[in-house]
Symmetry: C3
Subunit: 377 residues, 3 copies
């Protein structure tokens, strides 16, 4: 983040920058038919500590540990090499524990997503191994977009008594139109995953807008005998002045043994935002995702900060399995950026979940109000 200083070694060749984020949440749910869902909870969405840096101009590294949810998880932990190919194109290759380049929301950091939680597309059209995997990634950057290709095994914390699962993944984003104050974004991505060992039991589950209500999930029972998953998605969005728009959709098929039909997940989301205070949306054209905004008049300089109003509709369905499930939600939100790396978020979600599992069978509707105070370094 912009907040922290970068340290250099005496010879200038080595750089080192601490990184961190504190995202502190509170949320309450009401209106559900099930008392167990009408709860109020606090939680740390992210407590992250780490560092990044480089050696010379080509080698770069990063290491981040997430402390926020009851245990330590390694997030990005990688070493990479970057270079220019020509005046306008460049590349990098990385090895280590890598963050997926997959979907618009899924490629945006947890401290930069316009809503408190990523969309169901990012969350449900994903490999079983989740947002991170150990392996190698190559990315090519050109004036109109970028292409990322990744091959990974399991995450860093996984079992070593059997072969890793294998995931191949790619994403291509293009900006066919681009002006000083506006831009069109189109992208496509996909992945294919061969499952191994314990990963062959999958438990479909996603949340419709707040992770800190553990009783409120779109979920199915455990599925054994999954041999692999294949997923893909499309993105269409852009911004003109302070207003942005993003539509994402995707499908995932999990192959099951014994001649059973594929378990199928479909998800889409449509979202939009408006910086009332006039800032441009924090779109990063290099990697095709959101970053942090440049705030015109930060609160710390006596200004009002930046204010963004947001809305999202999203839908997800789990099909072709004994316990199908559906969910959709409509979110209204407001983001108040005190400066470029300090933010207060409010989300009001109207959600509907239809479940085949006995505990919450049938359709249930309700509202969730949630707030977050976050700082990123």
């Amino acid at each position: 983040g912009a907040g922290l200083p970068v340290f250099h070694s005496a010879d200038g060749q080595f750089s080192f920058k601490p990184r961190g984020r504190i995202l502190s949440d509170v949320g309450t749910t009401f209106g559900s038919d099930h008392d167990a869902r009408n709860i109020t909870t606090t939680g740390m969405r992210s407590l992250r500590l780490g560092f990044e840096g480089g050696v010379g101009t080509h080698l770069f590294y990063q290491l981040e540990a997430e402390l926020g949810q009851s245990k330590v998880q390694i997030m990005a932990a990688s070493l990479g090499w970057r270079d220019n190919i020509s005046a306008k194109t460049s590349f990098d290759v990385q090895a280590g524990n890598l963050f997926n380049d997959r979907s618009f929301d899924g490629s945006t950091g947890s401290d930069s997503t316009p809503f408190m939680e990523r969309s169901v597309v990012a969350d449900a059209i994903a490999p079983e191994r989740g947002y991170f995997g150990m392996g190698a990634m190559g990315r090519l950057y050109f004036p109109a977009g970028h292409l990322a290709v990744t091959v990974t095994g399991d995450t860093v914390d996984a079992d070593h008594t059997q072969s890793d699962s294998r995931t191949a993944m790619a994403r291509l984003h293009l900006n066919p139109l681009r002006s000083d104050r506006g831009l069109l974004h189109v992208a496509a991505w996909g992945f294919d995953e061969a499952l191994n060992g314990a990963s062959r039991t999958i438990t479909p589950s996603t949340f419709v807008d707040t992770r800190f209500n553990g009783a409120l999930r779109v979920q199915s029972g455990a599925l054994t005998g999954a041999t692999g998953t294949t997923g893909y998605g499309f993105e269409l969005g852009g911004y003109q002045g302070p207003v942005w728009f993003m539509a994402e959709g995707g499908e995932r098929r999990a192959r099951l043994d014994g001649g059973r039909p594929d378990f199928r997940t479909r998800a889409y989301s449509i979202s939009a935002g408006w910086f009332v205070t006039g800032e441009l949306p924090p779109y990063n054209p290099r990697v095709g995702s959101f970053g942090r905004p440049h705030v015109h008049a930060p609160v710390f300089d006596g200004g009002p900060g930046a204010i963004e109003l947001t809305t999202r509709y999203e839908q997800v369905s789990f099909r072709n399995l004994p316990d199908p499930a559906d969910g959709w939600s409509e979110t209204l939100g407001a983001n108040w950026y005190l400066n470029s790396f300090t933010r207060i978020q409010l989300n009001a979600v109207y959600w509907s979940v239809t479940d085949a599992l006995p505990a919450y069978a049938g359709t249930d509707k309700g509202e969730t109000l949630a707030a977050r105070f976050g700082v990123t370094f």
Copy 2:
């Protein structure tokens, strides 16, 4: 701590300071009637890593992780805002995982307590959720003292499938007399906690002076069906020149369902210290607790450092439950401060524990010798 440099961003608006502490213990117990208590153990009282800083003059943040006892626990993790009300009064508000402002010993950091362990008042007259909770705290500072009001849910690492427990807490400290070399401290505090879900089973337990003898506890069997706790306490202390004195006492009542009488805990402690080398006690009049002393002649400058002799008597009782328990201890201690943030501590404890649990039924007495080497950044 004073030891580490503070880093600033290029524009001076962002500050960042690493924090840490290493508190390394060894202890031995003898004289108990139970062989299982006559043991010798080593342990890390605290291995803490974190950072603190600010953005502009008003926003401040901190994040600390404790690595010392078999797992990672998030300690303070918060964002806050501070401002002046007038020339002499100021306030701050914080949100996140917050350290209790409760009891004198309980409000003092683990690297600054005059004895190796906090008193039974701090440890037993406490909410079930412990020393930390997720929520919000407001504090008002005025020339004669300060007032803190806190509302929290569970700790950061807690379960999210049910509503958090709720704790409201307040503490008021006053310094009615104050001179250049002396001061009187009076304070009162209380809390009320509504318990929820798994928190409704409580297991009363506290230690009489060394946490690293796991077999030596004042403890009762598990109590189910607790619906809430209420506690309060009073503090009276002060210092004149290098000699300080502190008395604390409190009571906690845990409400039980089924018409059972409240489970009642009472505790008090009386302690005193003398800086043989003439330093003033490290009392912080802003928040009414101990910090680190200003050592006149640090060892690293060729001086003797600061030497403090301490003594404490403390007593705790668990009543109105199937397995009542009592304990008291008398501690003699010495603290050698090499400089303001490096300290060697020795504690000799004579303890007596009366237990109704079968394993250690009856009254048992013995001695514990313990030593700590600590550095704080």
Copy 3:
């Protein structure tokens, strides 16, 4: 490491240096008779974060946490004091969680070992408590070598309801011959350990060159009733110009109750390396182990970096127990040092394991190829 800057407090008395390492592995095994061993896995050999520093010229401290293998483990966490005895001799004493000074490979940091894994001598002729223990260590440094004496209890994360196990350990290394470009190294070491409580059940296991194949171990069934272990070893090695050689061997006896014969482990390893690019081996004559090399022409300055070719033969046997086991391996390796703290390692291992356990009974042979990309700060 050399890479990171050292921070000093304003008065110059306090220093602070972040430390870290990222060692990222991938490996594949083939040729085994057991399909479960022919697997391909990724893993983080080390993800380490910490800091070290000093107060004044005598006091030093360090704290390191290892995040790489599914949980947080405290590694070195200690406070120490160092001073000169005369112009040529000096000493230090440390308290806290201490890294063994034991065997050549075992005393070398995981980021500096010439092979991807330490030898079976370092790994199998070791106390049950492993590479670290809480306690105190004194070291004496003189022109011809050093002597280290350590007394420790359990590791920092261990149980506190019973007395720690106790380990006494010593190592003496000498450099009887020494010139500008060459040196002879001889050393002897030993330890004696009294086991307590849960530590009395021991499960002999070591790996022959890749930890990230969890199915490939030299191992025996669990042994109960071990009361203590005694081990010793010898080292003979040295270098002349860019070529080094090291032979290590040792034996450990675990005493068993009930009049059973000692469980006996024997291990030896012979290894050699050649810096093709002419660097001297990174032998540290102060502590008698390897560090990081001084690379003549780092890649980041446009040079080729340093290239080292290595080879090792090692053998280990577990004897006098119901399920004896043996293993040996021959490794060919190459290390490419981009600069002094960035390294790519390749190891090709031909291994043979003879097991009495039912799952892998009999002799099995195969090959493992493994690679590592590592950076140390």
